[in-house]
Symmetry: C2
C-alpha cells in the first residue's frame, strides 16, 4: 500500500497537516500507536505569542502571530468539515506581578507589545482585580493582552482527527519503528511488527520523539519535561488566562470549558522521565495559590507530565532535510498548539508546491549547519 | 436465610470481628457493596497510641495500648489462617520539631510516655538525622517512640477478608439499606433491591456512614474528612514513621512496602464531601517537604479523600445499644487500624458471651446519655 505522503505522528501537528494536505488532493496516511496521548494531552492551549517571558526571535514571533491570526478561520473550517465547533476563548491574557521587579518586567513587555502594534492595557492592582476578582490582593498590577486566545487541546485533537479522516486520511494505529530509505531518499516508514508503508514523502511529526527515529539523520529535538495540573469546579473563578511570575517561577492558569482550569507548567531537562513528582506538583500549587487564593477550594482532578519537543533555539523545525523526501514538522517546544494552523498550512504548501511559504522558511533544519 | 450475626460494613472493623466471631462458632454474614473502599483505603496504618498530638482520655489510651499489644499475635493468627503474612513495620515513630514551642511539646510528650512506662528516647537534631538521614537540617530535635508499629491497611484488608471467608463468613456485595426490627428489637438488615437478611444480632460497622442508617436510633458518628497522598520511589528514604508539627499543622510520613510512602492527613469538617482539593494537597506536600526535602523527587502516585468516623469524644462506640440485638462497632475516628484487633476481640466476646471485656466497657454509646 502506498500513499503520496505518510506522516509519522498523529498529534495536533501530524493530524492537522494531514488534513490540510488531503484537502488539497494528496493521499495521506498517519501512523501513531496512541494519537493524542503526547504533548497536547498536557498542553494548556494558550494562544499567546508574546506573553511568554522570553520574547524570542523576530522570525519566530512572526510565525506565532501568523498562526494566531489564522486560528479563528482554522476552527471555522474545522467546524465546516466536521460539524464540531471547538470553542475559542477570547478573554485575552492578564499578566500580573507582585513587586517592583515584576512591574519592570511588565513595563518592558508592554513596550514590546506596543512596538508590535498589539493591543495591550496596563492595569493597576485594583483594575486587574476588577477584571479578575479572584486575583490575590497582593497583586500590584497587570498587563492585559486583549488579542490572546486559548483553546482546549483535548477538544481540538479529536476534531482534527475527524477532519483528517473525513478528508480521506488513513490513520494506522502502529508504532513507527524507523524510516525506510532507498538510495539515500526517504521511501516510507517501517512499523512495529515488520509492516512497511511506502510513500513519496515522509513527514516526521513525532514531537519529542522526533530526535531518535532509526534511519533518520540526527534531528536536534530533545524532550523538555512539563508537569501540569487540571482542576475542576472552577466555574466563574477566572474569565481568561492569568500568568504570573512568582519568585522567578512562571505560572499560568488557563480556564477550560465550563468548570476546568489548567495550571502549568514545570520546565525540566530530565530526558523522557515522565514522573509526576511531589516537588513539581507542590510548586505549581504553591504558585497558583499565591496568584489566585481561591484555587485552594478546587478539585485537583488530574496531574500529568509530558515532554515538549525542544530545539537549540526553541523554534520549530519545518520543511525539507538533507534526505530527499523527508520533511520535518516538529520541535514546536512550548508553542505547539499555537503553531498548529501555520505549520499545517506551511507543510501542506510544501507537499503540494515544493516550496515552503516565506513565513516558515527560516525554520528549516539547515539553520543549524549541514548534518 | 438467617445467620447468628449479620455485620453491616466490610471494612477492617467489620471483617475482623466477623472473622473472630466465626472462629468462635457463630454463623456470620457481612454486607458491603464495596468492601475495603472506605476509610482504610486512605489510612496510613500508624499503630501509635500516643504519638498523636492530643493525648486523649485514659480509657481510650488503655484501649489503644491493648490493641497495639495484641497486633503481632493478631497478624500471626491471620497468617496461620490464610497463609498471608501482613508485614508489621517496627522502626517506631520519630516525632520531630523545628522551634522552641515544638521542643516544649516534645518534652511534654516524653514525660507522658515515661509515665505510661513506654520506651522513648529524646534525640538532638543530629541524632534524629542519624536515625533518619533524610530529615531536614532545620529539625531541632526529636522523640523516638520505639514501640510504635505500622501496617499497610491495603494489605491488611484483603488478608482479613480471606480469613473471614476461610472461617465461613459469607460476604454479600450489596448496599445496606436499613435495619430490620421486630417489636423494637433488631432482626436483620434490609438490602438495596428489597432483599432481607435475618439474624439474631446485627453489628453496625459502617464507619462514617453509621450515623444515618434507616431504622437505627441516632448514633453520634459524623464524617471527618481526611486527604492523603501516596508516593512511590521512596525506597530508602525513611526507616520508620516520621511525625512533625509544621506551623501548627500536624503531618506524618509513613513508609509502606518496598518503595511507598503515605503522607497525611488533613482534618476537615465538611460532611461527606470527598473532593481532593488543591489546597489540601498543597498543604500536605508543603509540610512533608519541610520535614523531608527529598520527598520532592518522589512520584506522587495517588491522592485520595475519605472520612474518619468521628464521635463527640473521639473514642469509638462499642457494644450494645438501647435496641436489643443491635451492637455498635464504629466511631474509631483516627484509630481504626490501631483498634482493629481489640475491637474484633471485644465484639466477638460480646457476641459469644453477652459481655464486653473490661477494656472495652467504657465505650458503649450510653456514655452520651439515654437516646
Amino acid at each position: 500500500m502506498t500513499a503520496d505522503v505518510v506522516v509519522a505522528g498523529g498529534g495536533l501537528i501530524g493530524l492537522s497537516l494531514a488534513w490540510r494536505a488531503a484537502r488539497r488532493g494528496l493521499s495521506v496516511t498517519v501512523v501513531d500507536d496512541a494519537p493524542g496521548s503526547g504533548a497536547s494531552r498536557a498542553a494548556a492551549g494558550m494562544l499567546a505569542p508574546v506573553s511568554e517571558a522570553g520574547y524570542g526571535e523576530e522570525a519566530l514571533l512572526r510565525l506565532c502571530l501568523a498562526s494566531l491570526d489564522r486560528y479563528p478561520a482554522f476552527l471555522d473550517e474545522l467546524a465546516a468539515d466536521t460539524g464540531v465547533r471547538v470553542p475559542l476563548r477570547s478573554a485575552g491574557t492578564l499578566v500580573v506581578g507582585f513587586d517592583d521587579d515584576d512591574m519592570r518586567v511588565l513595563a518592558d513587555l508592554q513596550t514590546f507589545h506596543v512596538e508590535l502594534g498589539l493591543e495591550v492595557h496596563r492595569l493597576l492592582g485594583r483594575e486587574a482585580r476588577r477584571r479578575e476578582p479572584s486575583l490575590s490582593p497582593r497583586v500590584r498590577g497587570g498587563l492585559h493582552v486583549a488579542g490572546d486566545l486559548s483553546v482546549d487541546p483535548r477538544e481540538l485533537h479529536p476534531a482534527l482527527r475527524a477532519a483528517a479522516e473525513g478528508a480521506g486520511v488513513r490513520i494506522v494505529g502502529s508504532r513507527v519503528a524507523g524510516l525506510l530509505t532507498d538510495g539515500g531518499a526517504a521511501r516510507g516508514l517501517a512499523l512495529d511488527g515488520g509492516a512497511e508503508l511506502r510513500a513519496g514523502t515522509v513527514v516526521l511529526a513525532l514531537g519529542p520523539h522526533s530526535g531518535a527515529l532509526p534511519g533518520v539523520p540526527a534531528v536536534p529535538v530533545r524532550p523538555v519535561k512539563g508537569q501540569i495540573l487540571r482542576m475542576r469546579a472552577a466555574a466563574g473563578l477566572l474569565e481568561g488566562t492569568v500568568r504570573a511570575l512568582v519568585r522567578g517561577r512562571s505560572v499560568y492558569l488557563v480556564p477550560q470549558g465550563d468548570d476546568g482550569l489548567v495550571v502549568g507548567a514545570t520546565v525540566e531537562e530530565r530526558g523522557f522521565d515522565g514522573t509526576v513528582t511531589a516537588g513539581g506538583v507542590h510548586d505549581l500549587l504553591h504558585d497558583a495559590l499565591d496568584v489566585v487564593p481561591g484555587v485552594s477550594e478546587l478539585e485537583l482532578a488530574e496531574t500529568l507530565a509530558r515532554w515538549r519537543p525542544g530545539t537549540p533555539d526553541n523554534a520549530p523545525l519545518l520543511g525539507p532535510t538533507s534526505v530527499p523526501g523527508l520533511v520535518l514538522a516538529t520541535g514546536h517546544h512550548r508553542n505547539g498548539v499555537l503553531l498548529t494552523p501555520v505549520t499545517a498550512d506551511a507543510v501542506a504548501d510544501l507537499l503540494v508546491t515544493g516550496e515552503l511559504p516565506e513565513v516558515a522558511a527560516p525554520f528549516t533544519v539547515d539553520r543549524f549547519g549541514a548534518p
